[in-house]
Structure formats: C-alpha cells, structure tokens
Amino acid sequence: MDELIRILSYFVGIAAFLGLNLAYLGWVERKGAGHIQRRIGPKDVGPYGLLQPLADGLKLMSKQLVVPDNADRLLYMSAPVLAMVATVILFVTIPWGENLVPREFDYGLIMIFAVASAAGLSILLGGWASGNKYSLIAGTRAVSQSVAFEIPMLITAITIVMITGTMNLNEIIRSQSGMFWNWNVFALDKSILMPISFLVFFVCSMAEINRAPFDLGEAESELVAGYITEYGGMGFGLFMMAEYGNMMIGASLTTILFLGGWQCPFGLFPGPHWFLLKMYFLIWTIVWIRWTYPRTTLWGLLNLSWKYLIPFSLVNLLVTALFIKVF
C-alpha cells in the first residue's frame, strides 16, 4: 500500500513538474531567442509573457483535429502519443535527488536507452503515416540519424559503466561524490579522454533529440516542417512537448553521467537543486546553440558520426579499459 501511494504521488509530481517544464521551456526558448536576436520576445501576454505558454497550449488544444486523406489514420493518430509516452516513461528512472527517484532500477541506463529509441520510432511513424513526401524524407532522415548517433552515445555510456561499475543511475552519481573534480567529466585519473567524451556524449544527445544544428527531421528551410508537416493542433503540441521532454532527458542524462547529478560541486548539501541547476544550464546551452548555428546536412551529420564520433568513442573505450587495467 505504501508502495502504491509512493508511486501515485510520484506520478502526480512528475506530471505536474513535466507539464510545467514542457510549457515553460517553450517560453524560455522564445524569450531566449528574442534576447539573442536583438529583440524582446514575448512580453505582452502576462508579465514577461509568462502566460504565453498557457495561451499557446489552450489554443492548440482547441484547434481542429485533421487527419489527411492519404494518411494512415491509426498510425497518424498514435505517433504523437507514442512520442509523448516514451518521454514520460523515461522520467521514471531519473534520480532527482538521493532519495528522490520514482523507481530505482539496477539497470536504469539500459532502460533509458531502450525507451529512448522509441522516440526515433515515433518520428518515423509520424513521418510515414502522414502520407506526405516531406514527412517521409524527414522520417527516414531521423531514423538514420538516430541509428548513427546511438552507437557512439552507447559506447561512451559504457565507459562510464566501466569506471563506476554499475548501471544504477543513483550509484553512478554516488560514485562522483566530493568536490567537483570527482565528477566524471573531470576525472582525468580514470580516463584521460573524459572531457572529450563528455562533449561527444552531449553532441550525441543533441543529435538524438533532433535539436539544431542536427534538426534534420524538422529542417524548416528544406522540408517545410519535416515529420510534423501534417500535424496540427495537439498532435503538433504533443510532438513539441516530447521534444522538450527529450531535451530534459538528454540534459539529465549528461548531468548524471558526467556532471555528478545531484552532487554539489563543493561536497556540501547535495540535493535536487543542484541537479536542476546543472540540467537547466545544459538545456540553456542547447537552446543557445540552436539560435547560433546553421543546420548541417544529412551527409555532414552521418560523416560526423561514422567517421569521427564512433572511432573516437572506440578509442576512448580502449583507453579507459587500459586505465582501469593499469591503475
């Protein structure tokens, strides 16, 4: 019974936290874009435009739902739901604080990678089911991208597992306790390539969640709106929310694996606030990059993965193994 109450309260907590975040990350993005671009951004809808996400959400919910004629009705309707469900499930494993984790798995890392693949699938599904050529191209792009970047991401994650000896996310964080040089990103004594592998992981996570400069699935100037071309109203809204959700997951995962999760940089008062601080910093970095960089091409993207990231992550794996063996 206690367990049930615990799960239910976490469910409510996560839903509220998630809803608030997904709405307001959109606001952060628009406001941030404004300030980066020499303008103000939303300001007249509520103080500092803070009611903007509510207006957008309410509007999207009250929009007409259209299923295009040549779309596959069932798949078309289920793709955004699938995207959102996968994202929400992912949040179950994230340890926000030492005891603040909805469900602690011993194999949390595997769980995350397993479910995260579904996000790519939902894009393919949405793209294919729309019956639109732009969406189809976007879907195929997203899948090849997803496949290409999952490999270096996984290999980099494996190095972390080798160092810490566990796949439990909370355990991984615990192993980084103490001052900030114990964090994996600075752990040069564990593997000399750690800072670079942090970058690799971060770049891969950005590519996995289809963010600029790797947003080839959406590619506004080429594919109209990519896989969401045919989605209006809440279908579009769900995809957008799933994207922000994935952004949070990507940032949290990077935080957990490399930045010491809920650990304080100076070994004092560890707790969820540190986790959130680090996660939001990474999210802001992702937003910042989006409004700064042009988009790559598909070929440039795949080249990056297959020619640079994968060989590098393999080298990284070997070097880490060597360090573990020798020291």
Binding site: Q37, R38, E222, P294, T297, L298
Partner: protein
C-alpha cells in the same frame, strides 16, 4: 516524367517544392525528381507572381510607369529606378545635374547595402541559422530610415525622375548616412567572425553549387553569381554610367565558383558600397537636383533604346521600342535573377536536396522581379 525511363521511375519520386515553401523566398515552385536525397532533375516553374509589368509599360505613359519600377525588385528598387531614368535620359538626351547623379549613386548603394544585408540573413536562414536574419534586419532598418527620410517610402521606392531626383537630400540625411556607415563598418568583420568562419557553414558552402564561368556565359548569369565564378564584370565598371567612373571602388571577384565564392562576393560588395557612399558624400557638389529643361511631355524619338545598370542581383537592363508617342510601344525588362535561376536546372543535377536549396539561396532570388 517522360524524361525518365520506366525502370528509373521505380527508384525516383517527384517532390514539389513550392509555391509556398520557406526556402523559395516567395512563390517560386521547383518540380524536383529525386533519387533518395539526391536530385535527378529540378525544374523551376515561374509565373506565380507574374504581374504584367511589360504590358503595363505599353499602356501607361512614361511617367506613369515609375511606380512599377519600385515593385519589380523590391529589394533594389532604386537601382531599377536608375535603369529607367537612364533609359529615357538616353533616349531623350536629357542632361542630369551632377548633384542629382551623386544623390542617385548614394541612394542606389544604400539600397544595395540593404539588399545584401537582407540576402545575408535570408541565406543563413536557408541554411538553418535564424539569428543572422535578425541582426541583418536590425541594420537594414537603419538604412530604411535614411532612405525613407529622403524618398518617402520604405521599400517600393519611386524616387528618381527623368533628369534628376524627386527630392533633395538634407544635412540630416548626410550626417545620418555617415553615422550609419561608421556603425555598419565594424559589423561586417563581426559577421565574418560569427558566421563565415563557422565550421558548419563552411561545410555547407565550400565546393557546393559549382558554376563555371562558361556556364554563366551560356545562361547569361550576371552580378555576384558571375563574379563568384571568376569573371570580372560589373556594369558599373564595364559600361560606366552616372558618376561611377569618378569614384574609386573595386569589383570583388572570387574564382572558386562555389556558393562560398558568391557569399564572399556579396559580403565584399557591402564594403565597396560603403566606400562608394563615403566618396560620393565627399564629392557631392551643390546645385539643382533636377534638370531644368526636362520636358514635361515625353516623346522619345522612334527607335530602340537599351540601358543597363548593376542592380543588387546583377545586370538589370531595359529595352524599349518607342514609336514617338507618350507611351512605350514595347517595354522589355531584363531581370538578372531570371537568367541566374535558369542555370539552376543544369547546375543542381546530382546535388543533395539540402545543398540544392542552399545553392538556390546563394543565387539570391527575388521572385516578383523574375516573373515580372
């Protein structure tokens, strides 16, 4: 589709880009046959904004045709004004006061600056970078303010008159222009730092969209496209008009023939435009801005007349057939992007879709000018 054998058909598919598509900057439509992500054939379809400018040339009097020039190429409208003014001044033998010529050059070059700025932003937008557009627009608004103060409109200028300009510039304009150039000059190196040296941008522009000089010649491509292919051709130098011979400026030429070369040509042209404006401001004499003896009723002698100017996108030339009445018998407008785009079909063969759209952006298209 008849161009493709049936066996090929099974591997390719047709994609219709436009007439409403973010990459076409208006209402251009491109019928693309694609093999995966590669383009087999891309055929531009025009006409979605055909506005009968040539027909209007025939049923409007010479003076009534002025507003059309502002609406042809709304981004370098003053250069188009210059083309029309030059045409009739050549036909009628009207002398233009020197001050008017300098004002013309200053406004045309300001207009060219804002056109290139907008292109810069829109081009990076094509490549997926959003922020440079806003920076470019911010600078552009300054130019629009200056031009508005002297011409009275923001975009579709109708400023020139036969034998001069409509309105004299005042001291505010001159000081404002100097201040603006002082402001813009350090911005361009900043753009180079922020944008040009970006790795992703280099990857997307270098060696993409190769156009040889001979291909340019066959298709009649002009302007930055031609100069990016290593041909030193600029109407301002090769067929001097107005007071350009008295001003010292360079024609930027790049020999790489790729999108990056065209990009660099335009970026360098902005600097040259600023040089021209500064010199023209220094040299501008006092005097009238409109020819005193300009006839009220225009009836050019019978015959053909031709006049070419360097607009922001290339050679804009006008050809008129006059039958000595107050309207033109035939008015032909040769727009630069019309010819520049006509090589797209040949040049885009075998390109990636995303590269082809970047290449199209590097041609700097303005659709209403193309469709006329």
């Amino acid at each position: 589709m008849t161009l493709l054998a049936q066996s090929q058909l099974q591997e390719t598919f047709e994609l219709n880009i436009g007439p409403q598509h973010p990459a076409t900057h208006g209402v251009l439509r491109v019928k693309v046959i694609m093999d995966g992500e590669y383009i087999v054939k891309a055929e531009p379809v025009l006409g979605y904004i055909h506005r009968m400018h040539e027909k209007m040339g025939e049923n409007r009097t010479w003076n009534q045709f002025w507003p059309n020039l502002g609406r042809l190429d709304y981004l370098s409208a003053i250069a188009y004004n210059h083309g029309y003014a030059g045409l009739l001044e050549r036909a009628m033998g009207i002398e233009v006061p020197e001050r008017a010529e300098y004002i013309r050059v200053i406004t045309v070059e300001l207009n060219r600056l804002q056109s290139h700025l907008l292109w810069f932003g829109a081009f990076i937008l094509d490549l997926g970078g959003f922020t440079p557009l806003m920076y470019a627009f911010d600078e552009r608004e300054q130019i629009l303010d200056l031009l508005e103060s002297v011409t009275g409109s923001r975009l579709t200028y109708c400023y020139f008159r036969f034998g001069g300009v409509y309105n004299d510039v005042d001291d505010d304009f001159i000081t404002g222009t100097r201040a603006f150039i002082k402001r813009l000059r350090p911005q361009i190196p900043m753009y180079h730092d922020l944008v040009t040296k970006n790795v992703i941008l280099m990857e997307r522009l270098v060696d993409i969209g190769h156009i040889s000089a001979d291909m340019c010649r066959k298709y009649g491509a002009t302007g930055p496209v031609l100069r990016g292919s290593g041909v030193n051709f600029d109407i301002r130098k090769n067929e001097p008009y107005s007071v350009y011979p008295e001003l010292d400026f360079d024609v930027p030429v790049y020999h790489e023939c790729d999108s990056m070369a065209r990009y660099m040509v335009r970026m360098d042209e902005m600097e040259q435009s600023m040089r021209i404006i500064e010199q023209a401001l220094d040299k501008m004499p006092d005097g009238p801005v409109k020819a005193e003896k300009a006839p009220k009723i225009l009836k050019p002698p019978k015959g053909d007349y031709h006049f070419a100017v360097e607009a922001a996108r290339g050679t804009f030339s006008m050809r008129t057939v006059s039958d000595a009445t107050n309207t033109s018998y035939r008015m032909r407008l040769r727009s630069p992007t019309y010819s520049n785009l006509s090589l797209f079909e040949e040049a885009s063969r075998g390109m990636l879709l995303s590269d082809a759209l970047a290449f199209m952006g590097s041609l700097d298209l303005v659709i209403p000018e193309m469709d006329r």
